[in-house]
Symmetry: C2
Subunit: 127 residues, 2 copies
Amino acid sequence: MNWLEEVRFDGNGLVPVIAQDADSGRVLMVAWANAGALAETAVTGQAVYFSRSRGKLWRKGEESGHRQRIREIRLDCDGDVVLYRVEQAGGIACHTGRASCFYRLLEGGQWQAIDPVLKDPELIYRK
Amino acid sequence: MNWLEEVRFDGNGLVPVIAQDADSGRVLMVAWANAGALAETAVTGQAVYFSRSRGKLWRKGEESGHRQRIREIRLDCDGDVVLYRVEQAGGIACHTGRASCFYRLLEGGQWQAIDPVLKDPELIYRK
């Protein structure tokens, strides 16, 4: 059986993917993948997602240079969440210029942005 | 502003939650929470989810004893994914008796269950 058949995609043919830094263990981001994105990720060893807003494959780092080299691809017990364990180029996964998208901590009844901006997003995304 | 108002719940009033072992960094599981589950988690310091199948709050470990003590609650940049960083009681998060639900690794074109069963699920869930 093809490994893709064991992934339980949702009604839109998508599955959520967690990207985790394989070295630091940090949870970097969550995005979506379709079967094509998973297949390309497995073949190329570079993280590919499906951008719902743009309606097409999203080769992470294509624009920003912040590619994610795949160390492992894992699937959970229900088959409906995928985990990419990656090496994060530039140490920045988030579009805000931070290492991780999970930079807000609940503290004192408020979300506090506790992680530093490592690079100005305008410098990341300009051509 | 109440911190719960900054969480972008979906049309069903739910948000996906990643549970991560705060010590080992392992991604343990993904489940759902509603506002009530998040609020109770924040107040009690024990991970609470919302079980879609049972339609009610799921106090993780209630039955299995495998509670998750909260070390941190984080929110991602879009506000639509929550991260619980936890201390996992018994070192087992998955209903299969494994440390993590992400025990299947893509290897040689197949999902391989590479992590050991630490405890027989029948022993975990019998009363």
